[in-house]
Symmetry: C2
Subunit: 576 residues, 2 copies
C-alpha cells in the first residue's frame, strides 16, 4: 500500500489496531441506529421509495472508505442533497416513478464522476466557491424549505409546491383539509422525539447505564419512538387512515448502470451543483473532525471519497449522498477513528436489508416527517447571521441574499446565486491589492508607508510597495495606480517597485511589466525593481525585462543610488 | 456638472477646446467611413437585416458619450458580439424574422440594463472574470468560427451550421455547389481589400496627400473597393446572380420597447455573457487608450457607458454593441480626444441613413463577407499563445482549452468554459497563500524565511509569516499549515503569527482565528500575534480575541519575550 496512492489514504494516519477497530465498531452500531430512520426519511424527501434510502447507505460507505480520509465523516443520504435531487428532477419526471429513480441514479453517477475527476485533478481549492456565511445562508434557507415541505406530510394538508411563500399560503388556505389521524401521528412523534432528545440520555444515566450501551440506547431512541407510535397505530387499527412507508423489498441492491434519457443533458449542471455543495459541506466537517482527531485533512482525498460514494450510490440504484453533519458528530463522539466505521455501518445495513424489511413497512410517513423536522432544525444557523451582522456587513449581506434566494427561487438558483456572490467576493478582494507609497525612516534602512510614518522621500522619484502577487485579476489596478503616481514625475524621474511581498507573477502581469517599462521609458522615466525574490527574478530574466529596468537588491540601495542622482532631491514627509 | 456625477465623466479629463473638437471631428469622419460597411456586415453576421447595423451606429454612440469615459473607444456593432447574438437566438427564432430582430433588441436592452446596474454598483472588478490568455483564446476561436461562416457567403456553398468541424466538412462536401459569380465577387473584393490595406496609404502619400485627407482616403478605401466591385457587377448585369444587401429603408430608427416573448427567460444568461465579454474587451482597449492619452480609466464608467449604449441600441431596434478594437485604434490614430468623436460619428450616420440607402442596396453580400474576413483576421492572436507557451504553461493551457471549447462547443459554451477556467485560476491562487516559517538573522532584528537564510529559531516555538490577507478562500489552508507546525510543539509551546502582510480579514478568518486560539489553548499551546496593522487590530478587539492570544508589537519583541521563557531554547538553523 504505497503512501502516495489514492487508495485508503486514512491508513497513513490511523493504525488498524484494536483501539481503532473497537472505536469504529461501536460508532457503527450507534450511527446505524440513526441511519435507518434517516435513510428512509431522506429517500422520501428526494421523492424516492423509502427503501432506496437503505440502498444509499451500503456501498457508498464502502466507496468512501476506499478513497476518503476523514476518521469520522459519516457518509450517506442527507437532507440538503435529497432536496436538491428532488428539485433537479421535478421539471422532468413524476416523483417515485421508475424514470424518477433512474434520474436520481444518473445524478449520483454523474456527480460521483465529476467529484472523482476533480479529486484526481487536485481541485480541492473549489471549496472556496462558497464562503462560510453564504453556505450558512443557503443551508438555513434550504432547511426552512424542507420543514415547510414536511408540514404537508405531517398534517396531510395538500400542498402542490412552489416557492416558500406559495407553500405557506397553500398550507394556510387548505388548513381545513387537515387529516387528523396523520396530524396526531406526526405531532405525537414530534413531541416524543423532542422528549427523547432531551431526556433519553439522562434517564438511561439515572438507570445506571454507561458507556457504549448508553450511546446505543440514546441514539436508538428516535427509532424506538417511531416504533412506539407505529405499534400504537397498528394496534388501534387507525393505520389505514394515514400513509405508511409501504412495501420494502427484501434483499440487497443490484449493481446496474442508469438507463439513458435525453433529459440527462439538462441534469448535468444539477449533478455538478449537488456534488460541489455536498463536498463543501463535507470538507468543512472533515476539517473540524481532523482538528479534534489531530490528523491533517486532504480536500482532494475528500473529493475522491465522496465521488466514489456517489458513483457507487448511483450504480446500486440510489441517489446522491454526502457527509451528514449530525451523524458525523455522533460518529465522532461514539469513538470512530477511521472510515472502517462506515464499512461496519454498511455491513449492519445489509443485515437490516436482509432481515427487517417487513417491520419498516408500517412506519407512518408523518412520523418520518417529524423525524426530518427535528433533525433539520439543527441546520437553522441564525448564529452565523448574528455574528456576521456584528462583525462584517458584507458577509451578512451574502448570508441574507443567499437565504432569500433559496426561499424565493428554490435551492438550485439559490446556490448559484451563492456561488456568484462568493466568487464575486474573491474577485473583488483580488481587484483591490494593497499598494503603499513608501519612504525611508530617517536614520534607518527601514521603509514604511508615507501615510502612517514620518519618512524621507525623494523628489521626482516614487517608491511603491505592492502587497500582493501580480496576476491578471489585480494587474490593471496596480498599473492604474503606478500610472497615477508616475504622472506627477517629470523628465528623468524614477519609479521604484518594491517586490518583497510578490511571490508569484503570471503571464498577464509579466507582459504588463514589460509594457509599463516601455511606456515609462518613452516618457524618460526609469523603472526600477528591488527586493525581487529568486523565482520572480528568474521569470523576469526569461522575458529580458532587466534590459529595460534597473534592478536593486534592497529599497535602501535603490534609495541611495537615486539620491546621488542630480534630478532627485531628498525631503522629509509627515504622515497624513 | 458635478465632478462625481456619472454623467459625462470624460469632462474631468478633456477640455472642450478647439483641439478636442477638431480632433474628434476628423476622427469621426475617418471612423464613420469604416463604420458604414462594417455596420452592414456585422448586422448580417448577427442574422439581422443589414440596415439594422446602421441603427446600431447612431444612438449607442451617444449613450456611450453620456456615461462612458474613454477618449477614443469606438462603440458600435462588432464581430464577437454579433456572432454571440446569432448563437443566442438560433435555438429559438428564424434568422432575419421579426421575432429574431425582437430577440436581438431584447438581448441589447437586457445586457444594457445589466451593465448599467453593474456600473452603478461599481462592479468593474468583474473584468477579472476572464484572464488575458483565456480572452485571447476565446477571440481567436470565435474569429475562426466567423471566418468559416463567411466562407459560405463568400462562395455560395450551402452550409447549415454546427461546430467548426461540421461546417468545414460541409464546405468540403458541397464544394461542387459553389456559385461562381458569388465566388468571383467575394474573392475579388478580398484581394482588393488586401491590396488597399497594403498600398492605399502609400499610394496616396506618393500622390502628395497628407494629414486628415490622407486618413480619410485611406480609411475610405475598403468602402471604395466594395463600391468598385458593386459597380462592375451592376454594369455587367451579373448582380442578379448573387445575393445583395437588398432593400434599406430610408429614415431614422424609431424608439420602441422590444415585444415580450416567453423565450426571453432563456436569453438572460446570453445577455449577461454578451454584456460581460463586450465589457472586458472594451475595458482593456480603454485602458490601452488611457495610457496613450494619459488619462485614468474608470472601469465602472465603462460599464455604465457600454450599458447605456446597449440599452439605446435595443430601444432603437438594433442588437448588442460594444467597443470595437480596430475602429478604436483608427479613432485614436485619427486624433479622437473624447467621446464627442462618437457623437459626431452618430450625426454622420444619420446623414447616411437619410440619404444613401439606395446606394447601399446593391452591395453584394459576398463583398461584405470578404470585408468581415479581412477585418476579423486581425483578431487571430497566435502571438499570445506563443508567449504563454514560452513563459507560463498554465496560461497556455487556458488559451488552448478555451480556443478548442469555442470550436467544438460554440461561442457561448466556450466563454462559459473560459470564465470557469479564469475564476478557477483565481480561486486556485487564493488557496495557495504563501506562508513562511521565519527566524531571526543573528545579530539583527530582521526575520527571514528559515528555508532561505541562516537564522535563529526557538525550540518549542514557531514563528510564521502569512503573506496574504486572511479570508474564506485561503483560511482553511493557512489553518492546516499552522496545525501541522503546532503538532511538533509540546506542552507550553508557542505559535507566533507575524501579520505584517495582512491588511484585511473577513468573518470566516476572524472566527477561524478564535477557534485556532481556543484549540491551541486546549493543548496548552499559546498563540501570539505580532506586527498587527491598525484596522486588523480593531477587528480583533471587537471579537475579544486578545483575551485568548498574546499581542506583541514586533517579531523581535515576541522573540525576546519567548526567549526569556524557560520552555523554549534558542538555536541556529541553516537554510534548507
Amino acid at each position: 500500500m504505497c503512501m502516495n496512492s489514492p487508495f485508503f489514504p486514512w491508513l497513513k494516519d490511523s493504525r488498524l489496531d484494536g483501539k481503532t477497530v473497537t472505536g469504529d465498531l461501536s460508532a457503527a452500531l450507534v450511527v446505524t441506529l440513526m441511519l435507518i430512520p434517516q435513510s428512509l426519511a431522506y429517500a422520501l424527501l428526494a421523492g424516492m421509495p423509502a427503501h432506496i434510502g437503505l440502498y444509499a447507505s451500503v456501498l457508498p460507505l464502502i466507496g468512501y472508505a476506499i478513497f476518503g480520509k476523514s476518521p469520522a465523516l459519516a457518509v450517506g443520504p442527507v437532507a440538503i442533497a435529497s432536496v436538491m435531487t428532488f428539485d433537479a428532477l421535478i421539471p422532468f419526471f413524476e416523483p417515485g416513478s421508475s424514470e424518477w429513480i433512474a434520474g436520481g441514479m444518473f445524478l449520483a453517477v454523474a456527480s460521483g464522476l465529476i467529484l472523482m475527476v476533480f479529486g484526481f485533478l487536485r481541485f480541492g481549492f473549489i471549496a472556496a466557491l462558497l464562503s462560510h456565511p453564504v453556505m450558512s445562508g443557503f443551508v438555513t434557507g434550504a432547511a426552512i424549505l424542507i420543514i415547510l415541505g414536511q408540514i404537508k406530510t405531517l398534517t396531510g394538508i395538500p400542498v402542490t409546491g412552489g416557492t416558500a411563500l406559495q407553500q405557506l399560503q397553500q398550507l394556510l388556505a387548505n388548513m381545513g383539509d387537515v387529516n387528523w389521524v396523520t396530524l396526531s401521528v406526526g405531532l405525537s412523534t414530534f413531541l416524543l422525539l423532542l422528549l427523547a432528545r432531551r431526556l433519553a440520555g439522562r434517564l438511561f444515566k439515572l438507570a445506571g447505564v454507561r458507556g457504549l450501551l448508553l450511546d446505543i440506547l440514546t441514539k436508538a431512541s428516535p427509532l424506538a419512538m417511531i416504533a412506539i407510535v407505529t405499534l400504537v397505530l397498528v394496534s388501534t387499527g387507525y393505520n389505514s387512515d394515514t400513509q405508511t412507508v409501504g412495501s420494502i423489498p427484501t434483499g440487497l441492491p443490484t449493481l446496474m448502470l442508469p438507463p439513458i434519457s435525453s433529459a440527462y443533458n439538462s441534469l448535468l449542471i444539477s449533478a455538478l451543483l449537488i456534488g460541489v455543495v455536498g463536498f463543501i459541506e463535507s470538507v468543512s466537517m472533515a476539517r473540524a473532525i481532523g482538528r479534534i482527531r489531530q490528523v491533517s485533512t486532504d480536500s482532494d482525498a475528500e473529493l475522491r471519497g465522496l465521488g466514489a460514494a456517489n458513483l457507487l450510490s448511483g450504480l446500486s440504484g440510489a441517489f446522491p449522498v454526502t457527509g451528514g453533519l449530525s451523524r458525523s458528530v455522533v460518529n465522532l463522539d461514539a469513538g470512530a477513528r477511521s472510515p472502517l466505521a462506515g464499512v461496519f455501518s454498511a455491513i449492519l445495513m445489509v443485515a437490516v436489508l436482509l432481515g427487517t424489511g417487513q417491520y419498516l413497512e408500517s412506519l407512518p410517513l408523518a412520523s418520518l416527517a417529524a423525524l426530518i423536522i427535528v433533525a433539520i432544525s439543527s441546520l437553522l444557523d441564525w448564529h452565523t447571521l448574528r455574528e456576521c451582522i456584528r462583525f462584517d456587513r458584507a458577509d451578512a449581506a451574502g448570508w441574507l441574499v443567499t437565504f432569500l434566494g433559496v426561499l424565493f427561487f428554490g435551492v438550485e438558483h439559490g446556490i448559484m446565486l451563492g456561488i456568484a456572490l462568493s466568487v464575486g467576493t474573491v474577485l473583488w478582494r483580488q481587484s483591490r491589492p494593497h499598494i503603499a507609497i513608501i519612504g525611508r525612516i530617517p536614520g534607518t534602512e527601514h521603509f514604511r508607508n508615507v501615510q502612517r510614518h514620518r519618512v524621507e522621500t525623494l523628489d521626482n522619484a516614487v517608491f511603491l510597495r505592492v502587497d500582493a502577487n501580480l496576476f491578471f485579476a489585480n494587474w490593471d489596478r496596480i498599473r492604474e495606480f503606478i500610472d497615477q503616481q508616475a504622472r506627477h514625475l517629470s523628465n528623468k524621474g524614477k519609479v521604484v517597485l518594491s517586490m518583497a511581498s510578490v511571490s508569484d507573477i503570471d503571464s498577464t502581469a509579466l507582459e504588463g511589466l514589460q509594457e509599463l517599462a516601455r511606456d515609462l521609458n518613452s516618457r524618460q522615466i526609469e523603472l526600477s525593481l528591488c527586493e525581487v525574490k529568486g523565482p520572480i527574478s528568474d521569470k523576469l530574466k526569461r522575458v529580458h525585462l532587466f534590459e529595460q529596468v534597473t534592478l536593486h537588491l534592497s529599497n535602501n540601495e535603490a534609495f541611495e543610488a537615486i539620491n546621488r542622482n542630480v534630478h532627485c532631491t531628498k525631503q522629509v514627509s509627515e504622515p497624513t
